[in-house]
Symmetry: C3
């Protein structure tokens, strides 16, 4: 790998110098590393957002791409830093569960070998002082097993599950995208068929009367339910912001009810 790829995901914003410092550390150790920014706009210290972001993005990368993820409310505490192999990808990440949705890991290590770290490690910026230099060394071909010791257990993030009953699913908004679309924790496979006209969908206090396959099937401004590009049930306002129009937030409840004689059927698309 002459030009290895390292992606970066943080909650640092770029008005602050933190992302730049990490890039400098990586490029000093491996000047040929190719850095790919995924996001520096993760909401500060928001692990649920991070988990959903990673689950929706990382599986699209080439196998064994190295992903540096620094959303780290516990920086400086005794929380470990992990090297993780999961979903055919490699991650360096604080042990806070933000990679939970990638599924069962193939390998998890605790970073312990300080010879791959910066000589002085600050108490408040392990992204720069531990994770960035380790990423650079990995990109130079260091074997992951040299970085530390196998981990037996690690943090897992509690993602709220939907409550599925005969004739109803109760879930909630777990992610709001930049268009104001509301992504829920309800997988499209657990929904009743779109053809079922007796389905009743409620988001907060508001009823959603229209189900579509894609935004453009309804008039601008229509409140619709559809299957998101990631396979979850999604609430949107066509060419508008469902979040703003409904005053919805992460945690807003979603209730789907249908005639109980009908079984939930996987959405054909």
């Amino acid at each position: 790998m002459a030009h290895p790829l390292i992606t970066l995901t943080t909650d640092f914003g770029t008005a602050s110098p933190y992302v730049a410092a990490m890039k400098g550390v990586i490029l000093t150790i491996n000047p040929t590393a190719r850095l790919v920014d995924l996001s520096h706009d993760i909401p500060p210290q928001d692990l649920l957002h991070t988990a959903l972001f990673l689950a929706a993005a990382l599986p699209y990368f080439p196998p064994n791409t190295l992903h540096v993820v620094v959303v780290d409310p516990g920086v400086g505490s005794s929380r470990a830093i992990l090297y993780v192999e999961a979903a055919s990808q490699s991650l360096l990440v604080p042990d806070n569960g933000c990679w939970t949705l990638l599924g069962e890991p193939r390998r998890v290590l605790f970073l312990t070998q300080t010879r791959f770290w910066r000589p002085v490690v600050s108490a408040t910026f392990h992204g720069r002082d531990i994770i960035a230099p380790v990423a650079a060394h990995l990109s130079l071909g260091v074997d992951p097993t040299e970085l530390g010791v196998p981990a037996e257990s690690w943090q897992r993030l509690a993602i709220p599950p939907p409550v599925i009953a005969p004739g109803s699913i109760r879930g909630e908004v777990v992610f709001i995208d930049s268009f104001g679309n509301l992504i829920t924790n309800i997988e499209s496979g657990s929904l009743p068929s779109s053809a079922n006209r007796s389905v009743r969908i409620q988001v907060g206090e508001q009823e959603v009367t229209r189900r579509v396959r894609t935004y453009s099937e309804a008039e601008r401004g229509t409140l619709v339910g559809l299957v998101s590009s990631g396979g979850q049930f999604e609430i949107a306002v066509v060419q508008g912001s469902a979040a703003r129009e409904l005053g919805a937030m992460v945690g807003t409840s979603i209730c789907i009810e249908w005639s109980s004689s009908q079984e939930a059927i996987a959405n054909p698309s």
Copy 2:
């Protein structure tokens, strides 16, 4: 081209995982592609903003650079996706007219060859499922003619033209930049000479009494008219925000009047 260049322009923001997913798709197909972010902060679904952005940025790129542009209010509808060659550049873009200001195209194709797409195409994210993989294949050397069929017609965006009369031009604000400078649809060549002291400039209800060549000619806080770096008439507040101070928006009217005995003369700069 060992390391072909692909630029990315979207309205996705980066708090959402959509840009990251597109990068992953491209790099999976062509791991040596060089990705250059132009913007992911286009205002959501704003085609006029996109058109002015592309017209001000793309002509500076090396000939035949491939530009991926995903501002796509019509995603999932029957709107086509285009491969376009215009202004010596190549674009992949939904057929919504956002490349209109690049001038007459040399070639326009409808993307139809699904073998260059992802195997499953979602109804709401053609950027990831169609445009990104096609871009990667192009960067690997696929001939554009393999992608689809020649297009005979395509969408054009209606950019509001100024109204030019003897002794006056009426236009409007078409773009507000990050400094709050108001870029108008009035080309500098249609303005009367700066030397003409009888010129009267009005933006909304406010008169602009000062014309300058560059911001630093006037005191901080002064409302000025000048020629933008793109050649349009621009209204600015020196080291301030004209948008905020005037409450101006895209669409705010601009009226320039001068003694009708004088002809409009191209600005010498």
Copy 3:
């Protein structure tokens, strides 16, 4: 240097086409240049922010990395554009003092050789028309001495110094990061030992009663003082925003007082 590195720092935002145009200009002259975005979210025309950003980021880069910095309130005036070598790095930057904190320069030149500029130089965008093409030529191997003439003097930015007296330091907030942490102009080395329990810390009207080594030592929501990752005294709210909770801004005063019999002792970390 087959793939030379050029970093970019601006206050342009990316909703505007200015960053994209600069990237295009660089890549047209040197198609193999590797561009690394440091920030395009510097607050508009904020030179103090820029100075602190550069001081916290640039020293981490490989020696002789070329940094393009365009925060330029004086664009179009007679202010010069500089080539600077300082802190083992190279910069291209308007002569406005924003590199002041990098320390004494090894070399400073005024850019005068217009053959390295774009043929037509606008009055309002020297980043695109002068700095970007010069950066590209440097990355192709042009010797810096060809760019212009040695500078004898240049702008320096007045960074407010703290007032240090026996038993007290009075400083101020100079930078607020994306988490709302307040970075001050007080170096950690001038602080009394954390073990000194008689230290009294005041930010604006609010007392800070807790000093920690890292955020996670205190409960969520606690107002703490600590040493920043850059070595300055910092005020933070654990997993919250000190800026928002205190209503603090750049310029908000910080006063640290301690029993005058005790000397200031460098913090052991």
